[in-house]
């Protein structure tokens, strides 16, 4: 396969071809869309794990037909009546809801992983960059409380640029709110597994996403607190390419393993077997 894409390609791809090919955002390789989809949106060339939506994620991780959504009625509001140069947050949120069919940036529910009951929260980057705000925080907390009540392991898949500015301080406080839920799971001995996908940064990396009993990342995912540009301006140095990658945070001791998307479900299953094992 490799030889095929390494060939020189024209920079401009004609329209009808565009429907057939996916261009890897990382290595720019042209991959047949069919092949790309069958490979769970992972580049067969460079193993870049592209963003996927919540439904694709649930399908990959849960046994077929076992997913049941909870708290599906929590929907974005506009607590600050926020407006910027491009218009109002309320309008922006409504447009996003129509476009994605979601009401907030996270979908929560229960399901099974090879028969083991779990509670899942999956963030979806399409919804305002997966940003953490009132509705997101509420759903992530309610799901952890659901896990606590039923004594099911809790798994959160993060994909987020951080706190949502349009809800101001209320978004910031969701970091404390979600972590308060995580603390209760820890206290009651309920497993909490965090999966960090591309990207997991800012207020999400600085709250529930790094607090897993086990932290897992997808290959090459961007994981970090401050933005690269801000850091470069602060230290007045260029940062290396691998800075804030999954590989970098693994090397620095903040995640347990990097796991390929295809192997993620089996990895979760294998780990969860150790819970309450004699």
């Amino acid at each position: 396969m490799g030889w095929f894409r390494k060939k020189e390609k024209p920079q401009e791809v004609v329209t009808e071809k565009k429907d057939l090919w996916t261009i890897c955002p990382s290595c720019k390789a042209h991959v047949y869309k069919d092949e790309w989809d069958k490979n769970f949106s992972v580049c067969p060339q460079c193993n870049f794990h592209d963003k996927i939506n919540w439904k694709e994620r649930m399908d990959i991780l849960l046994d077929p037909g076992t997913f049941r959504e909870i708290n599906d009625n929590v929907s974005t509001a506009d607590p600050l009546e926020f407006k910027d140069s491009k218009g109002s947050y309320a309008e922006k949120a409504e447009a996003t809801k129509v476009k994605t069919g979601m009401k907030e940036a996270v979908i929560t529910g229960r399901g099974k992983i090879h028969g083991i009951r779990v509670v899942m929260a999956v963030m979806d980057f399409r919804f305002l960059g997966g940003s953490l705000a009132s509705g997101t925080g509420e759903k992530i907390l309610l799901a952890s409380e659901y896990a606590l009540r039923h004594k099911y392991p809790y798994i959160v898949v993060s994909a987020s640029g951080g706190a949502r500015m349009h809800e101001g301080i209320i978004s910031l406080m969701q970091m404390a709110k979600t972590c308060a839920g995580v603390a209760r799971l820890k206290k009651m001995g309920i497993p909490y597994i965090s999966i960090l996908t591309d990207p997991t940064t800012g207020g999400v990396s600085a709250s529930f996403a790094t607090m897993g009993d086990i932290n897992i990342a997808e290959p090459k995912a961007l994981i970090g607190f401050a933005g690269r540009r801000v850091i470069e301006e602060t230290i007045k140095q260029k940062l290396p390419d691998d800075f804030q990658t999954a590989e970098y945070v693994l090397d620095h001791g903040f995640i347990d393993q990097i796991v390929n998307r295809k192997e993620m479900k089996n990895f979760l299953y294998k780990v969860l077997r150790y819970w309450k094992a004699k």
Binding site: F82, S85, M165, I169, M173, T234
Partner: protein, 317 residues
Amino acid sequence: MNLDFEKNAPEIEEKIAELTKQKATDPNAKVDDQIVGLKKELDKVLKEAYAHLTPWQTVQVARHPNRPLLRDYIAGMCGEFIELHGDRCFGDDKGIIGGFATIADSHVMIIGHQKGKNLEDNVKSNFGMATPEGYRKALRLMKLAEKFKIPIITFIDTPGAYPGADAEARGQAEAIARNLTEMSQLEVPVIVVVTGEGGSGGALGIGVGDVILMLSNSVYSVISPEGCASILWRDGSKAPEAAEALKITANSLFKLGIVDEIIPEPIGGAHRDYDGTLQAVKQALLKHLNILRRVSERKLVDRRFEKYCRIGRFKHR
């Protein structure tokens, strides 16, 4: 720092200082009436200037270099302060300091951001931007307070957590996240006072508590107005607009239910009157220490959890 909304207040202050000096060198100088008159005028000018600050003007006051810093509060409020250093992992951050302290008859743990008064101090403390070591030291001291069963008071005044490559390497995100998680379960009272700049996760990292107090000219925000403006307005100079939209003043945050009580600053802001400011903060702290002392450990934790559960506004449909 030039606060142009203060109008001619600095000139009046200069005149008062001049006359006072004159009086000191020549006790017979007939300047008393003039000084009293000028002071009245100054009060009037400042009262008017500070009555209707815009959010962006409030940001300037909150960042004022002469605003009292944590060490000023400690010196003026505490009978004793025993500073405790180090995170026991890597180092001792100067951007967050802490230790045992007494306020009136109360024994407490004080932890907070420490900006510098001059460039040298600011270089040491990263302008009050804490490193992971700062957050880990803070957590260590909070756990110590819990063991000793004494209340915790945190002082918030930071532009944000330090955005350095080394801070990332040592887990800035993890350090803040762990504090948020652990603070929600502390079995002693936690009182948070925002005294200057409440800069995002760097502030919240020591800011989870039972009562959140805010000085009237302080600000607290998810992102700096400049940062927000450059992202959402694509123009950093639109910071005044962003400051307005983000609702970052004590009044706005009180209305939103994030802040429990506003501590009024003396006329003309905290930077003009340390004594008045320190006394106001001390009285507010003593009041809340008294209230929280009567709450059982379990109830404290339950109530704190419920407090944070309630934060958020969304639709059900």
